[in-house]
């Protein structure tokens, strides 16, 4: 874990990072716990924050998987940047798409209301 932030500095290649079994098992337990938590919170009334809480828990779970299971914490920073970039682009796509697709919904609803209901 010592060399995660200093690729530029050390010239000796240390070889791949081996994650300890204890850490992997801890991560599994935390992930299962968070799954339980999200099921519980999913059944509670959180006054409009349901989706936010569910997404927060999912993001925490995903980050743990990325950092520990996928070795991003010890890997070259560029690989992590690539992945982060994908998520950012997804966000951009989501934002533009949702921003637009909602805009003309009133017209669709008005059109539907005019249709004769069988």
């Amino acid at each position: 874990m010592s060399n995660h932030d200093s690729h530029e500095e050390h010239c000796e290649h240390k070889g791949p990072h081996v994650v300890s079994l204890g850490l992997l098992a801890t991560v599994l337990i935390v992930l299962l716990g968070l799954t339980g938590l999200t099921v519980v919170t999913g059944k509670m009334d959180l006054h409009g924050f349901d989706l936010a809480v569910a997404m927060l828990i999912a993001t925490v779970k995903a980050s743990i998987v990325c950092l520990i299971f996928m070795h991003l914490y010890w890997d070259r920073k560029f690989n992590g940047m690539i992945f982060l970039f994908a998520v950012m682009l997804l966000g951009l796509f989501l934002a533009f798409g949702v921003l637009d697709l909602g805009q003309y919904q009133a017209n669709v609803d008005a059109y539907r209301a005019d249709q004769i209901q069988p």
Binding site: E12, H13, F96, G97, D100, Q103
Partner: protein, 586 residues
């Protein structure tokens, strides 16, 4: 025939090292794959070009049509119109997905990129072969559309037509596009990793040839945008076959959503087509002006800027699709922004020409004509990005002329210029200059004659994609069809020139044009692993003083031993010593 000392035609080179068709089909050599892409693209270009000529024939005058009832009595008026719809659809789809998108990156890029890097191959040679095979499969899918009645949705596949009443050809076409998308993704992935990990000693990012910058920016676009067309095509396929409902209003879906998905890819795809052409331009202008390229860093950075901005402009295709005015305003503004990096490139090319010692070899003629053609194509793009003007010009021949100026006038011309430029390297032989100049003139005159009148017809309101038109547009269409005939002759002669060069051309020296990038430092054609021994050391890719003309070779040779820089970091030696190279492999 006198062979220059450095010509490798008589020795073992990549062309003759392995024999038999299997050694080509199953090769992992990027040079052979590049050549096979090249010939595949030629074939598809002829295929798509045939339909272009049929379209222009049909439109030559208001009353001509090639499906004259006297010639084909059975053809009803409706059948003829359907045939026309299929022709422009196949023309568009084949030219975009099978010709322009793979044209420069997959054919020229595959051949040149590893040699420019001084590498033996791309990072994943087998993946490279796989993408080529996928390309063939995609091409077959498109050809198969004819067996089920032909595709007539336009290359954009808009629902609800494509998911409803269009024929079974939609299945093959979407499948073909999906497969070609993955071919494109894998090519892009390969190039990104190759540029990151296989750069040679001393080639820092800002010593990379500009062609590589352009290919890198293209590859980034291919990787980021193409998956979205993949999923859109997949969704369209399930929509068509299983009525899943996401795009169909009767089932609660939203057809505009498809347009968002489609243009999220297909707008960046426009830059997948033009960026490599800009890269070729930078190489050609630099080499034939015999002068270091002007504004290296701004050309390199503008490639990346175009790649980034191209992701947030897709809505300008949808001004009239029911998209909200808010989004249209944002997209219109962002579209203006993309003109800035494009203009930066053009200014830099022009500044490179200034006081240069310009040689009007065939590749350079193409490059110079692109400055005009891209200028017209780019500036008319600004008309279309202005929302108010676009409402008038939308779906008229103005749009047709605009994108042909960019895609054909710039991308295809750069492709042909690039073929002439790298032909000596590919086949070890020179193309005929005389024939080259004649064909260039035919192509250039024919192109302007075809598409300049279409701007006028478009501003007067002639709609695109129609089988017939009002008599008031007759004059423009007549000249347009005459121009198309010029292009036909020009392109056929270009093909003849290429074949003549390959079979009977003068053996080429290693560096016939005076290029300084690494591909000119090896033999023509290169050996199987690109360089005999270690590749030459890397200098400034545009320092023309590094090569000098040798009369007896009719080519250029290194002016001085390039290993003169004592500060040059000995990368290979240190690699062998197990040193990490984070400065070279960020």
């Amino acid at each position: 025939m006198i062979f220059p000392a450095s010509n490798a035609l008589q020795r073992t080179n990549y062309l003759n090292a392995q024999k038999g068709w299997w050694s080509w089909f199953w090769t992992i050599d990027h040079k052979r794959l590049g050549l096979m892409y090249l010939w595949g693209v030629f074939a598809m270009f002829a295929f798509g070009g045939f339909f272009a000529m049929m379209i222009r024939w049909n439109l030559a005058t208001p009353d001509t049509n090639i499906w004259d009832p006297e010639l084909i009595p059975a053809a009803t008026a409706l059948a003829k119109m359907d045939a026309y719809n299929r022709m422009f659809t196949v023309h568009g789809a084949v030219m975009i997905f099978l010709v322009i998108i793979p044209g420069i990156p997959a054919a020229l890029g595959n051949f040149v990129l590893p040699i420019m890097l001084g590498a033996k191959d791309v990072a994943f040679p087998r993946l490279n072969r796989f993408s080529f095979h996928l390309w063939i499969l995609g091409a077959i899918c498109f050809i198969l559309t004819f067996t089920v009645g032909g595709l007539d949705t336009g290359w954009t596949f808009y629902p609800t037509y494509s998911t409803g009443s269009a024929g079974k050809a939609v299945i093959f076409a979407t499948l073909g596009t999906f497969i070609l998308g993955f071919s494109s993704i894998f090519t892009g992935l390969n190039f990104v990793v190759t540029i990151h990990k296989l750069r040679p000693p001393g080639m820092i990012w800002f010593k990379m040839p500009l062609f590589l910058w352009a290919i890198y920016a293209t590859a980034v676009l291919q990787i980021l945008a193409t998956p979205v067309i993949g999923i859109s095509m997949l969704l369209l396929l399930v929509e068509y076959t299983m009525q899943i409902g996401i795009f169909t209003p009767e089932l609660g879906g939203d057809p505009v959503f498809f347009q968002h998905l489609f243009w999220f890819y297909s707008h960046p795809a426009v830059y997948i087509m033009i960026l490599p052409a800009m890269g070729v331009m930078s190489e050609l202008i630099g080499t034939f002006s015999r002068k270091p390229i002007f504004g290296y860093k701004s050309i390199a950075m503008s490639s990346l800027a175009i790649a980034v901005i191209s992701f947030i402009v897709w809505g300008h295709h949808m001004f009239l699709s029911g998209q909200s005015p808010l989004m249209s305003t944002i997209f219109s503004f962002l579209t203006f922004a993309v003109a800035i990096p494009s203009a930066i490139k053009v200014f830099n090319w022009v500044c490179t020409l200034y006081k240069g010692s310009i040689s009007f070899a065939t590749p350079m003629l193409y490059a110079l004509s692109i400055i005009w053609l891209f200028g017209v194509g780019g500036l008319t793009g600004l008309f279309l990005s202005t929302m108010g003007v676009d409402i008038h010009l939308h779906d008229t021949y103005f749009v047709v002329a605009h994108f042909h100026f960019v895609m054909v006038g710039s991308a295809i011309f750069a492709f042909i210029g690039g073929i002439y430029y790298w032909m000596p390297k590919m086949y070890g032989r020179m193309a005929s200059e005389k024939l080259g100049r004649i064909t260039w003139a035919l192509n250039f005159i024919g192109f302007n004659l075809t598409f300049l009148p279409q701007f006028v017809a478009g501003t007067k309101g002639m709609p695109r994609r129609y089988f017939d038109y009002d008599p008031e547009f007759a004059v423009y269409n007549w000249w347009s069809s005459i121009g198309a005939a010029f292009i036909l002759v020009g392109m056929v002669l270009t093909l003849i020139a290429v074949i003549q060069a390959i079979t009977r051309g003068r053996p080429a020296p290693a560096n016939p044009w005076g290029g300084v990038t690494l591909e000119w430092m090896t033999e023509s054609p290169p050996p199987e692993h690109n360089f005999e021994g270690d590749p030459p050391e890397v200098g400034d890719p545009y320092d023309v003083s590094l090569v000098e003309y040798k009369n007896e070779l009719d080519g250029f040779v290194p002016a001085k031993p390039m290993a003169s820089d004592p500060n040059m970091y000995d990368y290979r030696a240190s690699l062998k010593a197990g040193v990490a190279h984070t400065n070279l492999h960020p």
